[in-house]
Every structure is written in structure tokens, then in C-alpha cells.
């Protein structure tokens, strides 16, 4: 399977390509006061507001700066009401695509953050898969994806 490799702090993580809609350069974000600190803000995607989550902050690591290879990964996030909504994930050092042999995937065996999944060793060190669907706790999901008003 193919994953998009990025880092949180010094560690490498992989996001399955199937879950990704697009990769975008970092843009100016509109801040959201009183939201959890890992909610980086709102981005303007062709006129549509899309919430952006900072993966580093979500994992509890404060990013030092916005690097030249810091990207916003756009995913279609299940919004709870059956449909999906676009969600931006700001990730550091998006290195590129990597192929992982599904045979090499192992359960990590350690209960960390709920969105972290299997691990696989590679030439560049261990890589852990990120489960997009489990990224947000239900309350934050409800906070970010208010039900659309009936037209």
C-alpha cells in the first residue's frame, strides 16, 4: 500500500493515499478563537471554508516553524451525519509517497493516541500509520462540523 510520509516531531508517520483528497501548500489560515489549540484555523478552498487541524499539535508536539515542506493534506472526513466534509491536516516535512508491504505491518501493541495504527519498519526507520477517521474526538468533530442548516 502507498502512504504519504510526514513527520511529527522526529518520528515518521504515514497517511494512506486512499484517504487523501489533495495535497496543498500552506496558506494563510483564519484563526478560530476558543477552539482547541490543535485546530489551526479555517482555510479558503475556492470560496469554501475548510477547517484545518495541526497534526503535530494534535499529537502534543508544538511545531517550531512552518517549513518549506509543510503541507496541508486535504481529506474527506466523515462528518457524522453520513456524508463527508473536507478537512485540512497541516503536516510537517511531507517527504513524499512511500510504498509499504502490507505483510510488514504490525500492531504497535501500545495504546497511544487513538488515531495511531499499525507500524512498519523501513530503511528510514519505523513508520506508523495514521487512521484519518479516528483523528478527532466526537465533541471536536461536532464542534467543527455543525449540521448544515436546512435550506
Amino acid at each position: 500500500m502507498k502512504v504519504l510520509v510526514f513527520t511529527i516531531g522526529p518520528d515518521r508517520y504515514g497517511l494512506p493515499l486512499r484517504a487523501i483528497a489533495r495535497v496543498l501548500p500552506v496558506v494563510e489560515l483564519k484563526q478560530l478563537p476558543l477552539a482547541p489549540d490543535y485546530v489551526a484555523g479555517l482555510m479558503d478552498l475556492h470560496g469554501e471554508p475548510v477547517p484545518v487541524i495541526d497534526l503535530s499539535r494534535l499529537a502534543g508536539v508544538t511545531p517550531e516553524q512552518v517549513w518549506f515542506d509543510t503541507r496541508i493534506i486535504l481529506v474527506d472526513y466523515p462528518a457524522g451525519d453520513g456524508g463527508t466534509r473536507p478537512l485540512g491536516l497541516q503536516a510537517e516535512h511531507v517527504a513524499g509517497i512511500d510504498s509499504i508491504d502490507p505483510e510488514a505491518l504490525r500492531e504497535s501493541g501500545v495504546a497511544g493516541a487513538p488515531f495511531l495504527g499499525q507500524v512498519a519498519g523501513s530503511a528510514h526507520g519505523m513508520l506508523q500509520l495514521v487512521d484519518v477517521d479516528a483523528l478527532l474526538p466526537p465533541d471536536v468533530r461536532a464542534l467543527l462540523f455543525q449540521p448544515r442548516e436546512a435550506a
Binding site: 483528497a21 501548500p25 518549506f68 509517497i97
Partner: protein
């Protein structure tokens, strides 16, 4: 019987007895006095009768005398009083009869006397007088014998009358003697009655007074004795009730009062014992609290003062217990905090030591800098020497100056052209830089594009596999581009800095050249001025030298400052050690506090 009477009755009875005796005595005396008065009346009556008889005798004698005088003298003047005396005789006689109306014997005698006197006057006196007058008218006649006989007869009658009057007087005198005797007897009995009655009266009064005094004083004495004993503190003393009068009631009330006082004293004693017991309980709790045992609880309660004191003491002990509890907790907290402070002080101390080491290293570095500066200074001094040498050489080179001037002119123009070329190079480099930025952006976008292409290829499944390879290649190319761009950027930056340095150097150089050209020209015109100009180079070296020297001084100052800093750091370390020591003392003090507070037991 006397005891059951009231004091009023007793007093009335006593004084009534005395009054009755005095009244009896008075009645007796009055009776005797009236008898005595009657007796004296009778005496006077007798004397009156005697007086009447004497009057009668006197009047009759007067008549007789007057008659005899007339008889002898014949003087009519002598006859005058006879008629008056006759009237007086009759008058006194009738009075005597009236006075003796109580005595029939005297009455009878006097009534017998009346005709005798009438007879005497009518038949004796009047005829005598008439006869005399007859004789007197018949002057010279002799006195008849019948007349003498009439006078004798008249004397006899007179004697009989006087004898009868004498009888009456005797009778009256006898009666007077009898009546005087009665009067004396009465007087004696009167004296006796008065004396005896007075003595009896006095004796009775004394007896009644004694009895009354006894009846009044005995209960009073009993009462006084009982009061004295109670006042002396004796208990159970009661006054004996000996009578039912007011004093008896008073004694009864006094006994009740004494009983009430004793009961009150007993109640008071009991209350004071209870109070003492409560106070002892309180004292026990307070004594325990005084030696530090605060576990005691006060059982004394109630709304009275001691109860409120007890509850107040309980509240106080509770508060004290809470306070000591808090102090113990605070002591533990202080100990913990002091331990933490000690730990952090140790850490700080370690940090301070590290800092000191660092500053020692810095000091060494500074010393090296200072040494380097000194070496540089020496070099500059050498340079100065060289400059001096140059000055002399300039003098030698005087001859070559013209040629040199030409060369320099050429150099100036060459420098200018180099400068212009360098400027062009710098501009080109800037252009390259902007191009590089564009290339970087393109590479970045290409990178993103390749990523998105890979994603799309993945989504396309097997159909996109070939495209995926292409995307990977594109990404590799983009990465290579990025890396190359970064390399070019670095090289360009180096080049730019080099160019900038060259431009600056060339600027300075050309400036120097220009000035030198001017100087050489001036030297060329006048040797002395050339020398002067050449010599002007020396002060510039001196300036540099001075700058270097001041730099050396600055370096040594830095070194000095660093040493001071080192000292300060050392002092900081010392202070931290002192702080650590103080914190240890604080720990000891906290332990002392805890042990002091631990003497209070509060649980329970």
C-alpha cells in the same frame, strides 16, 4: 392562765386592779368625810340654839334694867328701848323653837317659856311702868307698898324664866359634848382607813408590776439568748415559747426564720459543692490542656455561668486543637517545602558551578583574544615600521614617481572598469536569484503536483500505475531541482557576498588609488610635498595602531570584566551555598516546630 392573755390584756388587767383599789379607797374616804361634815353641822346647830337662849336672856335683862332705871329715875327716856327689847325677845324665842324642832324635850321647855315671858312682860313690866307714870303725875306722893310687892313678884318670875333657859342651855351643852365625841371617833377611823388603804394599794401595785414584768421579760430574754447563740454561729437553736401573746408569736416567727436561714445555708452549701465539682472537672480539662493533652472534653454544660464557661472552654479547646492540627500540618508542609527548596538550591548551586566553569572558559577565550590582539598589535607595529620604511622608500622611489603616476592612472581606470563589471555581476546575480526563487516555487509546486498525481494515480488503481511511476519521476525531478536550486542559491549567495566584498574592496582600493594618484601628482610637482604626503601615511598607520591598541585595551577590559563576572559567579555560588545552609537551618527549624507541636496530642 396569765400566759394565754395578750400583753394588752395583761397591762389592762394590772392597771385595772390598781385603779379599782384606789377607787374603793376614795369611796370610803368620801363616805367618812360626809359623816364628819354632818357631825360638825350638828355642833354648829347646838351652838346656834345656845346663842338664841343667850340673846333671849340678854333682852330680858335689858328690859328688866330699863324698867328698874325708869322706876328709879322716872325718866321717860329709859322706857324707850323696852318695846324694842320685847320684840327681840319674842323674835329669838320663836327662832329657838324653830331650831329645836328635832328635839321634843327642848321644844316642850321652850313652849312652856313662851307664856311665861308674855306673862312677865304683860303682867309685871307694863303695870310697873304704868304705875310709876301714875306716881310721877301725882308728885310728892309716897311709894305704895304694892309696888314693891310687884317688883319682887317680877323678880321671881324672872328667876323662873332664867332657870328654864339654864335648863335649855345645859341640855344643849350635853348634846354638844356627845356630838364632839362622835366627831373625834369618825376622824380616827378616817385616818386608819386612809393609811391602811394606801399601804394595801402600794403593795398590790408592786405585786402586779412584778407579775407583769415577769410575763413580759421571760419571752424577751429567751428570744435575746437565742438570737445571741445564732449570731455566735450555733445551729439548731430555738427560742422556747412560754406564752401565746404577741411575744409568743414573735418567738414563733423567729424560730421559723432561723429554720429558713438554716435551710438556705444548707442549700447554699450544696450549690457550692456542686459548683466546686464542676470547677474541678473544668480544672482537670484545663490542666490536661496545659501539659499539651487537648483530647479532654468538657462535660459541664448548662445555661448557668459555669455551664457557659464549660461550653466556652470546650469551644476554646476545640479551636486550640484545630489550631495545633493546622500548625502540625503547616509544620509538615514547611518541612516538605524546605526540602524542596533545599533540592532546588542544590540544583541552583550546581548550575552556578557550571556557570562559573563556563565563565572560566570564557575568560580563557577572552585571554586568547587579548593575546591575539597583542600579536595583531605587534604586527601592526611591524606594519608601521614597514610604513616608515615605505616613507623612506618613497623618498627613494621619488624618481620612479612619474612612471608610477602613469601606472596608477591606468590602475584607476582599470579599477573603475572592474567596479563596473562587478556591479554588472551583482545585478546578474540578483537576477539569477529571482530566477532561482521562481525555480524554487516551481519545484515546490511540482512537488505538490507530483504528490497529488501520485494520489490520483493511487485512486485510479491499476490504470494509474504507469502514471504513478511518472509522478514519482516528476517528484524526483522536482526534488533534484530543489536540491540543485538550493545549491545554486548557496553558490549565488557566496558569489554575491564575494562580489560585494570585492566591490567594497575595489571601492576602497580605487579610493586609495585615486588619492595616491593625487598625492603622486603632488609629489611629482614638489618633492617636499610628496614627502609630506608620504609622511601622512604614517599617522594613518598610527590611527590604526591606536585603534588596535584601544582594541587591546578593550580586550583586557573584557578580560577584566570576565574576571569580575567570574568573581560574581563565584559569589553567586557562595550565596547559593549560604542559601542551601539557610534552607538546612529552615529544615531543622521546621523539624523543631514539628517536634514542639507533636507534644500536643489532638486525636481522640
Amino acid at each position: 392562765m396569765l400566759n394565754s392573755l395578750s400583753i394588752k390584756s395583761k397591762l389592762f388587767a394590772g392597771f385595772g386592779c390598781v385603779l379599782a383599789i384606789i377607787l374603793g379607797l376614795l369611796l370610803l374616804a368620801y363616805n367618812n368625810f360626809s359623816k364628819l361634815s354632818t357631825a360638825s353641822d350638828w355642833d354648829r346647830h347646838t351652838l346656834d340654839v345656845l346663842d338664841q337662849t343667850d340673846q333671849i336672856t340678854n333682852a330680858m335683862l335689858q328690859i328688866q334694867t330699863s324698867t328698874r332705871g325708869f322706876m328709879l329715875t322716872g325718866n321717860e327716856a329709859m322706857v324707850g328701848p323696852i318695846d324694842k327689847e320685847e320684840v327681840r325677845v319674842r323674835e329669838h324665842l320663836s327662832k329657838a323653837i324653830t331650831l329645836t324642832a328635832d328635839n321634843p324635850v327642848q321644844q316642850e321647855r321652850l313652849k312652856r317659856l313662851v307664856p311665861m315671858v308674855e306673862d312677865w312682860i304683860v303682867s309685871v313690866i307694863n303695870p310697873l311702868i304704868a304705875k310709876k307714870r301714875e306716881l310721877a303725875r301725882n308728885a310728892g306722893s309716897v311709894q305704895p307698898a304694892s309696888l314693891v310687892a310687884d317688883v319682887v313678884e317680877g323678880a321671881k318670875t324672872m328667876a323662873a324664866i332664867r332657870a328654864l333657859l339654864g335648863e335649855v342651855a345645859d341640855e344643849e351643852r350635853r348634846l354638844l359634848v356627845v356630838r364632839s365625841g362622835d366627831s373625834d371617833a369618825l376622824e380616827k377611823s378616817m385616818n386608819l382607813v386612809l393609811s391602811a388603804g394606801g399601804i394595801i394599794c402600794i403593795v398590790l401595785s408592786v405585786v402586779i408590776g412584778l407579775v407583769l414584768a415577769r410575763a413580759l421579760l421571760t419571752p424577751l430574754n429567751n428570744l435575746t439568748f437565742a438570737v445571741g447563740q445564732i449570731a455566735a454561729g450555733q445551729k439548731g437553736v430555738r427560742a422556747a415559747i412560754v406564752s401565746r401573746d404577741e411575744l409568743g408569736k414573735v418567738t414563733d416567727e423567729f424560730n421559723r426564720m432561723a429554720q429558713f436561714i438554716e435551710e438556705s445555708q444548707a442549700n447554699e452549701l450544696e450549690a457550692s459543692n456542686q459548683l466546686r465539682a464542676k470547677v474541678d472537672t473544668l480544672l482537670e480539662v484545663v490542666s490536661k490542656a496545659a501539659v499539651g493533652d487537648l483530647t479532654g472534653s468538657v462535660t459541664v454544660t448548662g445555661a448557668d455561668a459555669i455551664g457557659r464557661l464549660g461550653s466556652g472552654l470546650q469551644t476554646m479547646v476545640d479551636n486550640l486543637r484545630k489550631l495545633i492540627n493546622n500548625v502540625q500540618k503547616a509544620g509538615i508542609q514547611v518541612t516538605t517545602s524546605a526540602t524542596e527548596i533545599a533540592a532546588s538550591a542544590k540544583e541552583q548551586e550546581a548550575t552556578g558551578i557550571e556557570q562559573a566553569q563556563t565563565s572560566v572558559e570564557i575568560l580563557a577565550t577572552t585571554k586568547e583574544i587579548s593575546a591575539n590582539t597583542a600579536q595583531l598589535l605587534k604586527t601592526m607595529e611591524d606594519a608601521t615600521a614597514v610604513a616608515d620604511y615605505t616613507t623612506s622608500a618613497t623618498a627613494d622611489a621619488q624618481g620612479n614617481l612619474k612612471r608610477m603616476d602613469l601606472t596608477m592612472q591606468t590602475m584607476v581606470s582599470a579599477t573603475d572598469s572592474i567596479n563596473a563589471k562587478l556591479a554588472a555581476l551583482s545585478e546578474k546575480a540578483s537576477n539569477i536569484n529571482s530566477v532561482l526563487i521562481t525555480i524554487t516555487k516551481v519545484a515546490d509546486q511540482t512537488n505538490i503536483l507530483s504528490l497529488n498525481a501520485a494520489i490520483e494515480a493511487e485512486k485510479a488503481g491499476d490504470a494509474g500505475r504507469g502514471f504513478s511511476v511518472v509522478a514519482t519521476e516528476i517528484r524526483r525531478l522536482a526534488d533534484q531541482t530543489s536540491v540543485s536550486t538550493w545549491d545554486i542559491e548557496q553558490m549565488l549567495k557566496e558569489m554575491q557576498s564575494a562580489v560585494s566584498a570585492s566591490v567594497m574592496g575595489m571601492d576602497k582600493f580605487s579610493e586609495e588609488i585615486r588619492r595616491s594618484v593625487g598625492e603622486v601628482r603632488q609629489v611629482g610637482e614638489q618633492l617636499s610635498s610628496v614627502m609630506d604626503q608620504v609622511q601622512k601615511l604614517a599617522p594613518q598607520f598610527d590611527l590604526v595602531l591606536q585603534g588596535m591598541q584601544s582594541q587591546a585595551v578593550g580586550a583586557s577590559q573584557i578580560s577584566e570584566t570576565m574576571m569580575q563576572l567570574n568573581d560574581a559567579t563565584q559569589q553567586t555560588v557562595d550565596s547559593l551555598k549560604a542559601t542551601s545552609e539557610a534552607v538546612h537551618q529552615l529544615q531543622y527549624a521546621a523539624s523543631d516546630l514539628q517536634s514542639s507541636v507533636a507534644t500536643f496530642s489532638v486525636s481522640g
